[in-house]
């Protein structure tokens, strides 16, 4: 059920009010705004719709939504398999499926974040939330790698799968606008530089590079859908971003192993530094993509 929104592009509307209310009780409604109530929050925003007339910004949004839904489908599938392994007590299988399954989530993280509490439910690390509320992937990570027992993790696995399925329902109707895409791409890279490149995301499994790559892929997807619009507005910037993506990809390449990546703990200090600097080199021009929103 796709809806073509006619609101000003820069009115950031987070959350979704049209979503099915299957689990409305657990939902925090405070961050949500109804589309009909959405007002441009800055005066400048009203002018921007006119400026973008020449460039089609609806097509990228549709394309991106489609991609998000696909990713979330994959996330559900992978999480099903992963949580089944946890519940069956198959530690090795669970460990091998942990990082690849999470990657689907990491690619669409800004969307999940915009949908209320999904991010903390699915992706909180120990200490991010009060202990008695802690659930999700990282709780199972700790059980698998640190306490080395999943005997009592059945309920955690069930909850995770339920959260992920619920996310799948909600992304269907999530409101996406260009501003959100532009900020989302930069946020994905910021995620990398604050937690992945420092090895803080995967404390026990050390599979940070999977998340690193997934965040970058998520940003790349956004760039891809916006590229035609950006080409029209600032081709040099578009070219620069493309080059930097390629460079970052090349910087990651040595650490690919099989279908995945080497452990973070195998990286040397100067290798981490190089990854981090390649990331900054990309994020700086990427942060200027907002130029397509009028102004």
């Amino acid at each position: 059920m796709m809806k073509k929104w006619g609101y000003p592009l820069s009115a950031v509307v987070l959350g979704s009010s049209l979503l099915l209310s299957a689990c409305g009780s657990a939902e925090t409604a405070k961050e949500e705004k109804k589309p009909e109530a959405a007002q441009p929050d800055k005066p400048a925003a009203t002018e921007t719709t006119a400026n973008t007339a020449a460039v089609d910004l609806q097509a990228p949004i549709d394309a991106y939504r489609k991609w998000v839904i696909e990713q979330t489908d994959q996330l559900v599938k992978a999480t099903e398999s992963f949580t089944a392994a946890v519940k069956a007590g198959d530690m090795e299988k669970a460990k091998s499926e942990y990082a690849p399954a999470r990657a689907y989530f990491e690619r669409i993280e800004p969307i999940a974040e915009s949908l209320g509490d999904f991010d903390p439910w699915i992706d909180a690390r120990e200490g991010d939330v009060p202990d008695n509320e802690w659930r999700g992937y990282h709780k199972l990570e700790k059980a698998l790698w640190e306490t080395k027992s999943v005997a009592d993790q059945g309920p955690v696995a069930d909850q995770l799968l339920q959260d992920v399925k619920q996310l799948r329902v909600k992304v269907e109707s999530v409101e996406i606008d260009v501003k959100m895409l532009v900020t989302g791409a930069v946020e994905l890279l910021n995620e990398v530089s604050t937690s992945k490149v420092t090895g803080e995301e995967e404390r026990y499994s050390h599979t940070d590079l999977y998340d690193f790559a997934a965040n970058v892929e998520g940003a790349h997807e956004i760039f891809k859908v916006l590229k035609p619009a950006l080409d029209a507005k600032d081709e040099a910037l578009s070219k620069e971003i493309e080059t930097r993506f390629a460079e970052l990809d090349a910087a990651l390449a040595p650490y690919r192993k099989g279908n995945g990546y080497v452990l973070y703990t195998e990286l040397k200090e100067d290798q981490v530094k190089k990854l981090s600097q390649s990331l900054d080199a990309l994020a700086e021009p990427l942060s200027k993509m907002g130029t397509i929103i009028g102004g």
């Binding site: 820069s10 800055k42 400048a44 925003a45 921007t48 501003k179 532009v182 620069e240 080059t243 930097r244 600097q277 900054d280 080199a281 990309l282 700086e284 021009p285 942060s287 200027k288 907002g290 130029t291 929103i293 009028g294 102004g295």
Partner: protein, 424 residues
């Protein structure tokens, strides 16, 4: 060529400079913190432009025959960084220097790094922390390390012979993370935030083309803490800079600092070679050494800064003076006796104290001297001097050289040109 006045003194005026300023604005305003910007253009048009500005918040012109920040009287703070190029295209390097030149000209004039677009959807062009602040005598000085000429850009043939790889000196403990780099950027200002802001914005411009290799901040006492403008003291408590050559005299600067048109290569004419040494002081050891040991180490009195046996800071060293037992009054292996080089070899020192917190391993202070000097040819000046110091200087007991770099500071740019245009 004995010099009695520290060139590194940031508030003391030569009589001529004072008169010139009196002519445009009146001496009473000179030490005032604000309102002087408008006076500067007229105050800085002399042939000694770089040595002229003395105002706490003034503008030091960016464009000129030489880069500012070399013979410019020292500011209170430094924020210095070395970059490694990640691009391998000479065209990118050229563009980087063009962007940097434009940015540096704006920043030193107290402006934002670029015009703001005003778009709410874009990150601001300037990072903003210097908004509303005075220019604070900001200078930005660019230099090239020897690795710049390693062949990546087809410039290997242009490497100046004087841009040697520094030899290893006795007891050097040089660490890579504090040394070298393709490009050095020295930012000095009378305000630490203004200085940091400049380096930060230059690093931002460089993203995708160059990355920071090391950054070091430094300080000295501020002009406000010492309105009389006497020679600043280093972290060992001694006046430092007393016997610096008086480079406000163009003849002296030409002889000691500036690469001359007759020197090779031509593109360096008007430039200078900068040596950076991160010299850690063994603070704890120094603090428990007796006053006479301390004074013998330098060859000067701690309080007055006078040569041993003399009373005034600017008295001649007279190294041949003997005491009753026939021993030199100033020990032959004291720092000044050695660094004096019989008065034949000179450099312009422009260093700052640094403090980088605690050495986590030992619990000792990581502090010392961010030694910076400029010379026309390091092969004839810094290197022989440091070779001598490294082998016998009494000071060595209290210091360790842990970082090092030699850089070819490019000639100045004229408006419309850019730093490096003589080379690229």
């Amino acid at each position: 060529m004995e010099n009695k006045h520290p060139a590194s003194d940031n508030t003391k005026l030569t009589r001529r400079e004072a008169l010139k300023l009196a002519g445009v604005g009146g001496l009473g305003l000179i030490l005032g913190a604000t309102g002087m910007k408008s006076l500067l253009p007229s105050a800085s048009t002399s042939e000694k432009a770089a040595a002229t500005p003395v105002l706490a918040d003034g503008i030091i012109p960016f464009y000129g025959k030489h880069q500012a920040g070399i013979i410019t009287p020292m500011q209170d703070f430094i924020c210095m960084g070395a970059f490694d190029l990640t691009t391998t295209s000479l065209d990118d390097v050229r563009k980087l220097f063009q962007s940097w030149t434009a940015a540096a000209a704006r920043l030193t004039a107290g402006q934002t790094v670029d015009e703001e677009s005003g778009s709410p959807h874009l990150p601001p062009a300037d990072t903003g922390e210097s908004a509303g602040l005075n220019p604070m005598r900001l200078t930005i000085t660019f230099g090239l390390g020897s690795s710049f000429f390693d062949g990546r850009f087809g410039l290997a043939g242009k490497r100046p012979a004087a841009l040697v790889d520094l030899p290893r000196f006795n007891s050097d403990e040089i660490r890579k993370e504090w040394s070298d780099g393709d490009i050095v950027v020295q930012v000095c200002a009378n305000d630490p935030q203004v200085a940091f802001h400049a380096l930060r914005n230059l690093a931002r411009i460089a993203r995708g083309k160059a990355v920071l290799h090391w950054v070091q901040e430094g300080f000295q006492r501020t002009g406000a803490a010492d309105p009389s403008g006497s020679t600043p003291r280093n972290l060992m408590g001694f006046k430092d800079g007393t016997n610096n050559p008086q480079v406000s005299d163009p003849a002296v600067a030409n002889e000691i600092v500036w690469v001359q048109p007759s020197d090779e290569p031509a593109w360096m004419a008007g430039g200078s070679y900068m040596v950076m040494r991160r010299i850690r002081m063994r603070i704890e050891v120094w603090d428990r050494s007796a006053l006479d040991d301390q004074e013998n180490t330098f060859g000067r009195h701690r309080d007055s800064g006078a040569p041993l046996g003399k009373t005034n800071e600017f008295d001649d060293l007279e190294l041949d003076r003997k005491d009753a037992n026939g021993n030199p009054v100033i020990p032959a292996n004291s720092h000044v006796a050695l660094a004096h080089m019989d008065g034949k070899v000179k450099i312009l020192r422009r260093g700052y104290s640094y403090s980088s917190g605690l050495d986590a391993r030992t619990g000792q202070l990581d502090a010392g001297l961010l030694f910076i000097c400029f010379n026309r040819d390091p092969r004839k000046q810094f290197i022989p001097m440091q070779q001598k110091l490294a082998s016998v200087d009494l000071l060595n007991e209290y210091i360790t050289h842990v970082g090092s770099g030699l850089y070819a500071c490019l000639p100045g740019a004229s408006e419309g040109g850019y730093i490096g245009d003589t080379l690229f």
